[in-house]
Symmetry: C2
Subunit: 450 residues, 2 copies
């Protein structure tokens, strides 16, 4: 009998609770502030945008929150997701390290995003909401929310950045197949959109503009709320099912990670895998190094400032205490669209400040090299975002090759690249560069922060 | 505890043998004939194209053939594949039927094709072959072979029909990411290609031309062989792991299928699921209706002639006794590219003649309607090919709704549509028609057959 390739939990062993890390931290994270009063925002401030159940989760200090049966029922379409032992990659690298990856590409849309899209749709439907709005860039989040809305009979309206809407039609088609309506942003449908188009009729949009349009619609239209795919506490909470499953799978494997690496954009993929392991570390039951990997083009944790800043470009959101490159920072157009966010989840920023995790930035050329190496060994072509984690993972495995250490490395493979293949084409054609953030651009962008 | 959504075998329970249906049939299938002598072809005739191990499997009368450990090791990257109970679809249809689907979209390239690409690459590598050639249309088969070749260190050279090469770049990029070389066909690299280009420099190619180029290269170049993704006995043999797993999974479910439906192009997906169940039926252990579903645009079994015909358009292959629309028949450009083949696997044709299976043809409009319905209930957007089986499956489930019968329906969901999303876009835009084959076109095409 060969060594195992993957560890799969039975449906009956799927975790039935999400994990909230807040009560286990040595101190609580700083609260979001109202931009006018600079007082902590209260539930009433958020009510036009989110249902009560999600607002309660956003500020909860309960350690565990039960996953509703209706949500578990949808999760079972693809969960528990597999934990793989990358034996073929280990062999290709010649490393004594044992590499594991938790694979979220098995979801209907090919990423971890449905883990939170599904409960968000569920709680909204349960409170009588009939329509959700959101923004999307390349479309990972928009397609997850479109799927979730189809599941609970909600309308779904997505503002997609015009540049992606025009150039990358596949994700738009996926959203439409699930029944969503997709608008290019800026659109004539909102005040924010019309204002931008009046100034520049040829605007190709930005995530900031798309957020403004989706938020504006949600605040104005009847029975309509807004949904966000990362950054906020309740989003990271929902993603912890990834790490809870991985803990059970490591028990099956009889192994314990020495190093855990995940890519970070808004932080939901990283937090989802890392938080349950961080709980074990804080409790002294294991002691993994936990490492966030970000793109050199958008190095929020490693080079940003820890300050109160807006979550969007237009300045409509509460002020969040986070590592930020400045809310008007627009990163170079690297292919890992999901990592091109100027800020970092306040919860992950806080944990980083507490010294509980470390962080590195890697250029996208190394990342795609790691992606191709991984694909040819393991068969899965990783999305551009998790190639950042894989690059860090391979660096660690090659260090082990030099030292002879048999480290156990765990990484989050948060999605596949089926709809990102042109990025691999560009890499294979030698058309990829790192876009590392120049010092003067960083200084200029940080100058406006408090 | 909710009813189960999926049945997943442990790696240790993965079948370790392929099933060869030939010895269990009441009479053997007619042999392929040499086009010159019209005598049955022998192993020597096939040696320039295939390795000895595959030629032996092609004519084997052994009931079971062991799967090599090296092949099992690669299968474990995604196998055993899940058997799903489509509870959400059942609920959406309001049917008392129980619908199960065996999902092959979990493979690295998103279809069942690697089940045979991997052993083909393995046996070639084991006999010292260093390069494989093949043809591909939309690219499902080409990407499976590219992945398999990456796994065993073989070069892979694919001739892709020029029209697809230009219009659908995603699968080409997938092949290249796995390290394959992809040529548009017709190409200047072969005699066959140059002849076509001399006559028509703007030729957009055809599967027939691409086969000629790949076969010509394999026959001429050193250490090079050719690989085919369907039709032949050894290909269907490798796919039987699908049905063997499904049988074990039905045991877990404590259920037995009354109806089994699968889509048929060359026949490998259908045969892979159906043959092990047909063995059980022939042995009197169960009695499912077994139904092949083909597109109305290319109705090989339902309207073709059972006759000796060439496997390719140019007439380079042995003559195969099969249901055929004539080897120069070119079906209308429907979106289920994998079902646009003029012939049908000789083994499935033979079994159909023996009355052991039935067949229906369905137009692609109904198929896409079924695909969208399925996607919104189950989350997986099915490839255009298996929407044919799903349409038949939904018809059956709706009949059960009328009669109140609690039939158990099993279907093969052989792949997802991530790289076929423009087809769904065309459907949603109302731009899809059935392309049912007109009577006069059929008569004209069959006229040349013996």
């Amino acid at each position: 009998m060969a060594e195992r390739t993957k560890y799969i939990l039975d449906e009956a062993d799927m975790p039935a609770r999400w994990y909230n890390i807040v009560p286990d931290l040595p101190e609580p994270p700083p609260p979001p502030l109202h931009p006018g009063t600079r007082e902590p925002v209260g539930p009433d401030d958020l009510a036009p945008l989110f249902p009560q159940a999600l607002i309660a989760q956003e500020v909860s200090t309960e350690r565990y929150i039960d996953i509703p049966e209706e949500v578990l029922d949808v999760y079972r379409l693809w969960r528990p997701s597999p934990l793989y032992r990358a034996r073929r990659l280990e062999k290709a690298l010649g490393t004594p390290a044992r590499i594991y990856y938790k694979y979220e590409g098995v979801s209907p849309v090919g990423s971890h995003k449905p883990n939170t899209a599904v409960p968000q749709a569920f709680y909204n439907a349960a409170e009588g909401v009939t329509r959700l709005t959101t923004e999307t860039g390349a479309g990972q989040w928009g397609s997850a929310l479109a799927f979730a809305c189809a599941t609970f009979g909600l309308e779904c309206e997505v503002w997609q950045v015009r540049a992606s809407f025009d150039q990358k039609p596949y994700r738009k088609l996926m959203m439409e197949t699930f029944g969503a309506t997709v608008h290019p942003s800026p659109s004539e449908l909102t005040e924010s959109g019309r204002a931008i188009l009046a100034a520049d009729p040829a605007s190709t949009g930005s995530l900031g503009i798309a957020i403004s349009e989706a938020v504006e619609q949600a605040a104005q239209a009847e029975n309509t709320r807004y949904a966000l795919g990362s950054v906020l506490n309740h989003v990271l909470l929902h993603q912890t099912i990834i790490g809870e499953e991985a803990l059970k799978q490591f028990e099956l494997a009889g192994d314990t990670p020495d190093v855990l690496v995940g890519c970070t954009g808004g932080g939901s993929n990283f937090g989802g895998l890392a938080f349950p392991f961080l709980r074990e570390k804080l409790a002294g039951r294991m002691d993994p190094v936990i490492r966030a990997v970000e793109p050199a083009a958008c190095p929020t944790l490693t080079r940003g400032k820890y300050a109160y800043d807006f979550g969007d470009t237009a300045g409509l959101t509460p002020l969040l205490k986070m590592h930020t490159l400045g809310h008007d920072f627009i990163p170079d157009p690297i292919h890992a669209g999901g990592l091109r966010y100027h800020g970092m989840s306040p919860l992950i920023s806080h944990i980083y400040e507490l010294g509980l995790i470390d962080a590195v930035a890697i250029g996208q050329e190394d990342c795609f090299a790691a992606g191709v190496r991984f694909a040819r060994a393991e068969g899965i072509i990783p999305a551009p975002e998790p190639t950042h984690a894989l690059a860090a993972c391979i660096q660690e495995a090659l260090r082990c090759k030099e030292t002879g250490e048999e480290k156990v490395i765990l990484t989050a493979l948060c999605g596949h690249a089926h709809l990102d293949l042109p990025a691999y084409g560009a890499y294979l054609a030698g058309e990829i560069s790192d876009h590392a953030l120049p010092e003067e651009a960083l200084e200029k962008s940080l100058a406006g922060l408090p």
